[in-house]
Symmetry: C2
Amino acid sequence: MARSPQKKTSAPVSGNAVTADLVAVLVAVTDGTPKIMTIAGGSALPSGPFEFTHRSLQTALRAWVEAQTGHPLGYVEQLYTFADRGRSGDAKGPHSVSISYLGLTREDRVGEGFEAHWSGWYDYFPWEDQRAGAPAFIARSIAPKLKTWAKAAPSPTLQRERWQRCAITFGLDDRGWNEELVLQRYELLWEASLIPEAGRAHDREAPAAPGKPMTADHRRILATGIARLRAKIKYRPVVFELMPAEFTLLQLQRSVEALAGRLVHKQNFRRLIEQQELVEETGAMAADTVGRPAKLFRFRHAVLAERAVAGTKLPLSRT
Amino acid sequence: MARSPQKKTSAPVSGNAVTADLVAVLVAVTDGTPKIMTIAGGSALPSGPFEFTHRSLQTALRAWVEAQTGHPLGYVEQLYTFADRGRSGDAKGPHSVSISYLGLTREDRVGEGFEAHWSGWYDYFPWEDQRAGAPAFIARSIAPKLKTWAKAAPSPTLQRERWQRCAITFGLDDRGWNEELVLQRYELLWEASLIPEAGRAHDREAPAAPGKPMTADHRRILATGIARLRAKIKYRPVVFELMPAEFTLLQLQRSVEALAGRLVHKQNFRRLIEQQELVEETGAMAADTVGRPAKLFRFRHAVLAERAVAGTKLPLSRT
DNA sequence: ACATCTTATGCTCAAGGAGAGTATAAATGG
DNA sequence: CCATTTATACTCTCCTTGAGCATAAGATGT
């Protein structure tokens, strides 16, 4: 075993065989609603076995999605690889490695005659939509249940730590809401037995949190995808993958707000977009609108080549 | 196939078996040098088959590294999963999925009697160390070769695009150096046939760029790890995983500089660290030093619980 | 004792960015 | 014409960031 630093011989490769699956979080935004492609009546993300006839995972996913939807996939990014023991049920059976991807498209690109549907992603994570302020059921329902869970910790110190974690992730006790903590919130609810997928006993004290469940760990994978996308839109111009060719600045803003799950300051949003020169006017104006007509813009694809954006948080020395 | 949106039957799972490998980028910083654990005389990253007796990939990696080094692993993060067709040589043979991880430790924690060594990561990526300014060989050797490669493109437009890409990633033509583009730089050199691992013809016009090669795609994986870590230190307090229990602010600064490959402004660095309340004084002073003795600090582990840092780049509305 | 070197540490300043609000323009439906 | 709705242009303030100056506190050599 030249590849291992271990001196004793490793297990033979043949005893280590697994199957590889792809799981895709395919996102679109339509009418201010972020949607994901689902199958099986919205209870699962599209997934399938990885065909090794492709050059790489990325090309395999693209080909696969294209076959499903009849349209090419814009932006693609790997999310996470899971290899949980109990995933295929029998611990002795063939194990499965699931490689998840995030992909961005537009809903109208979906072809006909497929099983796939588009489901609003806030159906699965109602607490993540804070555009109209924090949903009432957080304070009314989720927070008390979390408090109960926190108090169930064995020691006062652990109780305090548990509650602090709840308060931070859900923005309780006058803390701000952090829209990027999607996965942390989901995992917290899981630990507190508020997620049906956890498969634990749900008695009267800890019924499920609102939100539609999914097969296996698919809702966790979706949470990972949402979190990644919410982080990404802040430093990469990926929103445009979800927009039509031409759009108004307000439409663009609504898409960002839909993804982030919170509102942005209109004037400052425009300033940000314009000073970064991300868009250019098409010359045309939006039709069929209420109020003053807005200019139509298109994405300047050139910026992808021009820039290699990356924010600094280090006090770099320029000398 | 309930899990697939595809209507036609998918290939049977049995025809899809693969082997799963873990590849680790284990990082330590000693005396201002970032190091990675290597095997086989520094020509490969530690790797081995994944044992499905573990609950998850993360725990498998931790257990495995602990067995190798005799010490627990601090911070662990998944990097990327590769499944290249040609990886195991024969396209018809058993395919391999490689799941790579980034782990942070300290060099002195390595146990005795193992094959592993610590190698400086700039041995593999000499151009990434810009602490003493851009290394002379970039302008003298790499840039001209990239120019040649750019000019070899079939059309003037493509030539310009190629060169723009070179200039952006390597900070040429008076552009600033972006330390996070580690992977982009490596891939660019690969495309330009300046990387021995590419296995293409290296004639007189395109000899290899400086830097030690590695087995298979290990240097690419290392590049991924370096890039991830360089990005991470800017918004998460992970540097402390690489520091001893007590340290001076200058030592901390040197570690950050070692990782980032560039110098930071001393006074501003202190201001940043202190205003974020990341550290607290131990009360003791550093001994055996030149110049005025520095206070010793320790990491405030409490911040990990207190905060859930995440920078905003959206003009969020607070109302 | 004193000069000098080296690192530590405190403080100021200017430019730019981010959050928030005011004001005006241009359309539609009564 | 007026109310309503959305678009768009500015302004203002506070905070952050990059940069530099000044002083402190040790060691070492003369």
